[in-house]
Symmetry: D2
Subunit: 435 residues, 4 copies
């Protein structure tokens, strides 16, 4: 039998707290899960530094990847199977793309990508197409199979229906992460009736659509997303940890570029610093390695690197105030000046962060978007864009919201053993009055 | 106001998936949570290598420690408060001991303790009494307060009621971990009605007891424990990962002792290898550091270390068969011999593991035990030991169960590119027939 | 000790699937629960005919009343207690009003009130103030206590904060029923984070308000309400059962007024039919009694009453089509005519129902409303109306939505044994094509 | 297409709180659900008087019957389908038997059967085979189909595998009711991992068996049963309500037999009193009808009937003490005598109840039983009886437990307005000291 059709002698299951069980029958899927590149996802947290805010959020991308696979598996095996609009030849491709869609993520992706100009999507492609165990498994399916998997993941695949299963306004990726992140953080916002959505999803030429009778479940999903973004993903404390992380990486890079001699040389970071990180270098990076360096850098001579690392290790985060960049430019400049005078480098210790820096792609049909709008399948078989039928979705769609904050180390500003007057001035401006 | 009585201006809460919220009002508790030694628990998983079996089990000891604190807080603040048998002066002590009871755990405790002869309880004591941030916080409460906290944790404190809250057959420690581990693994076995148990718990001189009307909830807790031990904690796949981990540490130690020159020198392990690990050394060890070394040791020259590390990183675990050490001594010797002939070192690749090596302390009154039996408080105010009233508990108490398995790398045994005949012989003995 | 302060020797608890436990310490509350008028609520379903749509929705008003009490108890005992804005003398009053707020409901309230011109709020007042066991319990608390309880329930009590706990846009009544109805129907829409809301609720002079930090939990509650209204409370099948019920009661009344001789005389309905239903008559009515009559009326001589009762007993409901009363007046008239010609009385078998007949009071600040808007308590202690801060709530507030449907017995229209041509015409107009 | 194979144009679903959705594709099943005899189950509670103890337990047998059907549907469609041991011709029969297995239950079955000597299993058979809508639907499938359905339900069907799905120690009936009753009461005891059990269930010639790997899930199910029996089904307060109900029915029967003239004549009870209850009479009985009579009998002249009915309506239950029938015969006789002297008829007001009167069929292999033992399917394809492999099940199997209680109206005994001395004596014997 061809490898593509090969089934395991007995179905394997993974116990999963979100989907109860993840089911694997295909030898290809089983083999992919066993590759070293996929196992590496166990060492990369799904939500980066969110665990500093929600202590339960320690789950890895390995978890999530299995979950996305399981949702796509249920869609294609339980719902789409046998429907004329669904080409069953795309089944295995859909499953593989679902499983591997995040395989190029590195440690603390958000900060790393920002500081080092990386793009996890490019590394996903390299892993799928390059000299990896994953590539070799995919190649056994067919000579062009790796390219097809990469195309689905980077959304260039010709069958847009397959693409839409993992990249659309309502796809398996998001359905898994909303529920999973809600489960592990313990918040109640991420719940929506996925069972209902899976009952009403239907294949169409360009994308998956949803029977009108399930509109309210889709609305509920949209609201869950909205709440999760503002309650969890953009939580100001998480962003404070991201700020600290970025500044730490930034400091290490600057020191390296300045020729600073590290007591503990950052071998794993060299090619990152130089901007020529190979696939092999990249695959050696994971959150254990990063945390290891942060651990040892606490003993570096450079005071800023040392301080930032210790803060990260010990969760001694920056505090924040609301900030309006349009109105408060002058105030910011003044603060910068005062920080400098007080011997506190504002490049590292006075940070403006806005949450629209973060990947916010709340539902907005019509706006130039990589993500397709959601269509309802009406009783008369026509399609209608969701916001035309749903008052709630219409009310909130297209509304971009940005939140600006200013982050700083309040402990330093309160320490009056030096620069007492300057620090008081700063505290006055920032309205930090009492402990 | 004294530090011991100092309350936060506003109650702080941690969102917790198991208890919904963890509530903190006491400045002492808040300060303890902020110490570097406590934050370090975020880098040590609650269930060691269990995440290789149940992928959701990636939660840290930080999580669990907050949970134990919260349960004790509810007991002393909501249930015991105002009852004559409860001395409210012990409140803060109980809370601190609950929070800190696991603070001395190191990375992958079980294997590390076994291979390096460590004892996390001793390190807990050292952290509480030594030169640490935790010690300094406790000292502010009172000169003898650190000693009292240590005494509660190591069960020598004179007020046995306080001790029983965190160390008895049914204590806050276990009530938290059973529920928490069930939640994160996703298994359904760890559920019991803690709310009911907290309603019927009562303070008595020697220990906490349980009103007779709650007996069935206590029975259910006992059954949950039983199931969690055999379904989760002693799962043969988890034990396989532990075997691999122990053998890796063991190999590194042997190499160090033999004077092997590491390409990547294990600075963080030196004092462990030499058996003189100081508190400061110990606190630098966490699971990121260990994983970092396993990562880099994949490039060591020593083939065994290299192989074991790669297996651990890529979850390429040993397989197992049932094994009866009493009956099958001869068979084991034969296998050892064959392994050696086939060039597979049996010291690392043929491992007998039994689960009663693991901390199995299933309910058994009367047997010499560090844990007190459970007493029911009858309507006439007398106490009765649980198994005298509960048929189910009586039926299972005192029954020690041991499970023996033999672990080995099945991929090596199947690789017929060398020692084909020997490997076939081995496979025949181990009854490994088909893929 | 005064009766108002009297505590039970030991706290009593009710196991509750929504709140886990309902706790009772006050003798007054315990005694009220034991009265015959309160126990009667066990015989009246919370959601009337909704169980024909969602078979789990068989729970009674007894359930819900305990739940509302429990929420108010948690608010006043756990959150408000000790705060200067809260007058603890109002505690017992709040609890009693919460427990009794629905005590005047009769069987299938919605239809009964419509057909017989009743008002459950008036009967609640009569029960509290009249010659009842409940009245006698309240009187033991104080001579004016029954009047105070009635005043809180009918919203005339001077302390508006107390009123707001059970009658506002976000009160204990709704928080209980949304969760409870979601639980028993099994839908996922009614979930919101009540624990969070209870943490941020604060007493103010005119009403309970919510700390700004809990805004998202309040938003989520508003969205849950929206979904529950359209998914559950206004479900077209439930409305079909209500239509049938109303028409049955209507038919019985018409027959009575026409002097029809019932084979089974409706003794329990006499005063209802005559419009002079005394408190004593009212208290004898419950859903068992109504169902009993429907049972025996299946053998009445009148064909319409017989048919309607059988339909209700056997859940042989009317089907429905969308209907636009503004555009389709002519069509309706035509249908009426055709029904009459075909011998199907349109007064009973062609029913226009619109869901804004139903008590829809979705959040709409500013509009003349008995319910107060929701205020957020900002960090600077000022109050802001919710929709000014929440984009989502702003987007949906004030939007009344009405849904019109036309109900009819499709089985009769399909039965071609008589009036074949007429029925085909009717089916054509109603677009009933295939089975 | 034959009716047996006929599918609905579109799958119908029922929202179910326990199984999320109940799925119906077969026209036969859809038609059966729509019959009047099946809809009648909505008017009969699943747990009789348990709602007096657990107020959430108001769910009907309609609920449960759908649930049993859904579990069997999942077994035969998802697990058994395609396996050689499963004859797919038995599919529809299995589904129908599952759906209808309880259709013969009457109101408050337990008490009615005891007092009137009925047997719901006989009525189930009569409904399936008699002149009913259900019979007519089944007949359309095949001339012998009704008989086959009846045979499966009464366990005489030749294919024991089919029988075992709804009648064995671990069948769909029990799996549904344990979970459902736990859900509606809100207790935590009824949880077990049904998903796991459904994954390991396998068809064998004589019965369904369970793969060894699922043994712990089966153990957990057994423990859940044990807990549910003692915590919920045999709860002493529920038994008190049953005692009251039985005595009320008993009184009405005695009065009827004595020629008493009822103010409200019990037409619906005549044939029950006379012992010749026809199918048609039986089908008119439901809990609404019974409650209606209890309502109106509160105004009867007979003081005992009046009192018992009022107690039932107002939940004014009897209290209880432990009772040892072997040791305390003398005491019972003495109490009887004293009751009589005090004018309290002991036939109605001093009731000995033991819970082994109730249908207790806790797991006990080997003992003469209508239920088959549970077999594990070992890896080598042999079968082993569960208690031979499971220590826990072995420990508790075969242990019959009986609980005896004495019930009486404590309010009457405390009322000292008459027979003061006698009542004191009685209270002394019963050890009723304080309120």
């Amino acid at each position: 039998m061809s490898y593509a059709k090969q089934k395991l002698k007995e179905e394997k299951v993974f116990k999963d707290p979100v989907h109860r069980y993840v089911h694997v029958r295909d030898a290809v899927i089983w083999d992919l899960i066993g590759t070293k590149e996929f196992q590496r996802l166990r060492r990369i947290r799904q939500l980066g530094t969110t665990y500093f805010t929600f202590h339960g959020a320690e789950h890895s991308r390995f978890n999530h990847s299995l979950g996305v696979y399981e949702i796509v598996r249920r869609i294609v095996d339980d719902v789409f199977r046998g429907r004329p609009e669904w080409n069953s030849d795309e089944r295995l491709l859909s499953l593989c793309a679902a499983l591997l869609h995040d395989v190029g993520h590195g440690p603390f992706s958000h900060s790393f990508e920002k500081v080092f100009g990386l793009d996890h999507e490019i590394y996903t492609e390299r892993i799928v197409l390059g000299d990896t165990e994953i590539h070799r498994v995919l190649l056994k399916v067919g000579a062009d199979f790796p390219e097809k998997v990469a195309a689905v993941i980077n959304k260039t695949y010709k069958n847009k229906l397959v693409v839409s299963l993992i990249s659309s306004q309502i796809d398996a990726d998001r359905m898994d992460y909303l529920q999973r992140d809600a489960y592990f953080t313990g918040v109640s916002y991420g719940h929506f009736d996925m069972e209902r959505i899976l009952r009403v999803i239907r294949p169409r030429e360009e994308q998956a659509v949803f029977k009108q009778s399930g509109m309210h479940a889709v609305e509920d999903y949209i609201m869950s997303r909205y709440q999760m973004y503002w309650q969890v993903y953009f939580h100001p404390v998480t962003r404070s940890a991201e700020v600290l992380l970025s500044k730490t990486l930034h400091r290490a890079k600057v020191l390296y570029e300045e020729g600073y001699t590290f007591a503990h040389h950052p071998v794993h970071f060299h090619s990152l610093f130089k901007g020529n990180c190979t696939l092999s270098d990249y695959l050696k990076l994971d959150e254990s390695v990063v945390m290891y360096y942060f651990q040892v850098w606490q003993d570096e001579e450079d005071a800023i690197l040392r301080d930032l690392c210790s803060r990260f290790m010990d969760r001694n985060l920056f505090k924040y105030v609301e900030f309006d960049p349009a109105e408060e430019k002058q105030k910011y400049a003044e603060l910068e000046e005062l920080f400098r005078k007080a011997g506190i480098d504002p490049d590292y210790y006075l940070v403006h962060d806005s949450s629209s820096d973060l990947p916010y792609d709340f539902y907005r049909p019509g706006i130039e978007s990589e993500r397709q709008p959601i269509y309802l399948l009406m009783k008369n078989e026509t399609l209608q864009e969701l916001s035309r039928r749903s008052e709630i979705v219409d009310a909130i769609s297209g509304k971009r919201r940005t939140d600006h904050k200013l982050y700083f180390p309040v402990d330093v500003l309160r320490d009056e053993s030096s620069n007492r007057t300057l620090k008081r001035k700063i505290r006055n401006i920032l309205e930090i009055y009492r402990k």
